[in-house]
Symmetry: C2
């Protein structure tokens, strides 16, 4: 991960990030990403029943999850969740201020906020911050925007993929904040993706919905689900390709590029989970149904005992078997095979002999793969998570006070 350019690489996008005083540290805390003109937008949001004011605002403004917009304004430090009617007014004001500062008549902005739940936004600071960010908008300031949306993230997370559509070069780029994902007080995952492909809003919505299932929705840091998650994708159309039609070959190619960006960002979020020292990939194959595959993989990925075992570089396959067994997926010990870091540790109801010391060494590598073959069918799913360390407790045992 570097501060190389990302979301302004697709033609037609500008970004800025400024410090307006919401974060007590004085770090950057307000970002604006804007297209040079109104463009297609599509987004997906949290399924938590308690939602922040920004989520409520974007859902009301684009009830179908897509439409036209100029950009997005994001603050970190306060999440504007559970703030009542005043919170919704503040979210609306943020969107309007961004539009007004850009002089964009009719250009609408999405809003996202991340930080503590239940506190009112410091609107005077935010007002000044939006004005400053809009003045600073540039294709070179995307690293500032990324820095401004970080909370407990230890590193910026971005991805860029190039492809061609109608022989035109198309760029898809994204940035994300995570860390305490799925952790509402740090509220939480905000992803912004830009592309210069020409994609009508409904088609863009279909594409992003197709991409999140096995990318962002496959990530779990702590099983807790944010009230503020949003992933929004903007398409400027500046690449010059013919507008994409859903189902076409070009659509498939674009969606593959979008998927690659989502997948890379999702892996980065899991690897940078709060307190994480390594990324865990839980690969489930041989499940009876796709739903079973996902349930089994997520049950292992959410198990604190599996996550602490990986943290301790302990090849404790019993906990993996337990986590599979407690899931809603159909599991039989007799047909189950488990590999940890490529080493077979369990098959046909029993553990296999293996060298504990050498496997423990492999569990200290940055990425640990747990492969569970259920032997019940052909469905597969890969969940992404991280180990569970004492730093997770430190980060989360004293957040608001």
């Amino acid at each position: 991960m570097s501060h190389a350019r990302h979301i302004t690489l697709p033609k037609g996008f500008l970004a800025a990030g400024v410090a307006c005083g919401i974060k007590p540290s004085g770090k950057k805390d307000l970002a604006v990403i804007a297209a040079e003109a109104d463009c297609s937008v599509a987004f997906v949001t949290t399924s938590n029943q308690i939602t922040g004011a920004p989520i409520q605002y974007v859902r009301r403004t684009w009830p179908g999850g897509c439409g036209k917009a100029r950009g997005i304004v994001i603050n970190a430090g306060v999440s504007n969740v559970c703030t009542g009617a005043a919170g919704l007014r503040d979210a609306t004001t943020m969107a309007k201020l961004a539009a007004r500062n850009l002089g964009a008549a009719g250009g609408k902005f999405l809003v996202a906020s991340t930080g503590v739940i239940g506190r009112p936004l410091p609107m005077a600071k935010i007002r000044r911050g939006i004005a400053a960010a809009c003045r600073a908008l540039s294709a070179r300031h995307d690293a500032d925007a990324l820095e401004a949306i970080m909370t407990t993230d230890t590193r910026p997370k971005s991805a860029v993929v190039m492809t061609t559509l109608d022989r035109k070069r198309v760029t898809v780029a994204g940035m994300v904040k995570g860390a305490g994902m799925i952790a509402p007080s740090l509220a939480t995952m905000i992803g912004v993706i830009t592309t210069d492909a020409a994609v009508p809003p409904a088609t863009l919505h279909r594409a992003i919905k197709a991409c999140v299932h096995d990318t962002f929705n496959a990530v779990t840091v702590d099983s807790d689900q944010s009230t503020s998650d949003i992933v929004a994708v903007f398409a400027s159309g500046r690449a010059g390709n013919a507008p994409l039609r859903a189902g076409s070959r070009a659509y498939a190619k674009f969606t593959a590029a979008l998927h690659e960006v989502c997948a890379e960002l999702a892996r980065a979020v899991a690897a940078d989970g709060e307190g994480a020292t390594r990324l865990i990939e839980v690969v489930v194959t041989g499940a009876k149904t796709p739903r079973d595959a996902e349930a089994a993989a997520k049950s292992v990925a959410n198990s604190p005992l599996v996550k602490t075992a990986v943290h301790g570089a302990d090849p404790n396959w019993g906990r993996i078997a337990m986590a599979l067994g407690k899931s809603t997926a159909k599991i039989s010990a007799e047909t189950l095979t488990i590999h940890i870091a490529g080493q077979k540790v369990f098959t046909r109801g029993k553990g296999c002999p293996f060298n504990e010391k050498s496997l423990s060494r492999r569990l200290r590598e940055p990425t640990v793969t747990i492969h569970c073959s259920l032997g019940a069918g052909k469905a597969a799913f890969t969940a992404l998570t991280c180990d569970l360390s004492k730093d997770y407790i430190t980060i989360n045992a004293d957040y608001t006070t």
Copy 2:
């Protein structure tokens, strides 16, 4: 909790606990609890799809979950889970050895094991241990039995309740091990309850099934579910009451006493969860359905962010709202009210003003109550859990290696 007598207080029961060398520490690791003659038994077991050999053995021997038995033999240190056909033979051997050492022609024993998954039982040690425990059986050795089944438990957990049936004094007593409940490598909750009431097996089964829902099944330490959980209740009939009929007034009175024992043991398990520094009661009221009440309470009780916040004495109600919102229960922020330690912190979509310092002090008390009133109906459920501390990570990051 003291080493006062408990499971041998009901007439007709003997117990013993010995060290036979399974635990590397040399601590007691094998217990036998035996009735003086065959008696009624009923049990409930884990719902994990992966089960240990002892669970498979008792389910096969008493397919209806109840019948006649002489007692139970329990070892700690190795859980005999995922050990294949040899494991099932070992469990069977343990039961037979206990019966043979007692000279109990036809008297059957239940078996339970707790400890690491996937290792074979050291049968030579266990053979000697069962012989020694059977020789030591006495009404005065129940504390030894309780000590022998502990793993990461920090204290013994027992309960005694007296009642009268047909003007006869009846005692119901129980002991339990938990700690890494629901934690399979420490595999896990084993509860033994004895009573001198006369209760036919099927009636006893009905009574214990009625008691576990809001006691043992309301406890969660870490959301992980053991492959070895069992709660077994033995009724010697020595109190001299007329055998209980399900549905009678005496049955209701007996079940109330049994429930009280289960509830006390369940609270003790939650309070002594791995790394726990305090007990958390999550009380949900005003739910639309009983299922909603349970789902909402367990979602809060299982949330690592709620548990770390309580550990940090941080009145972070946003995380409680998040955990409710992600549950399968119907939740609306507008009708939701949250109290922490008796202090109203959230109502009608917004936080309430409160003194953070004074509430933080109350969050340091041994028991913390979180009350969530959903405003959607009349159903209620209370889940029991503990805070999540760094010691949980220490205990679980290096268990097998």
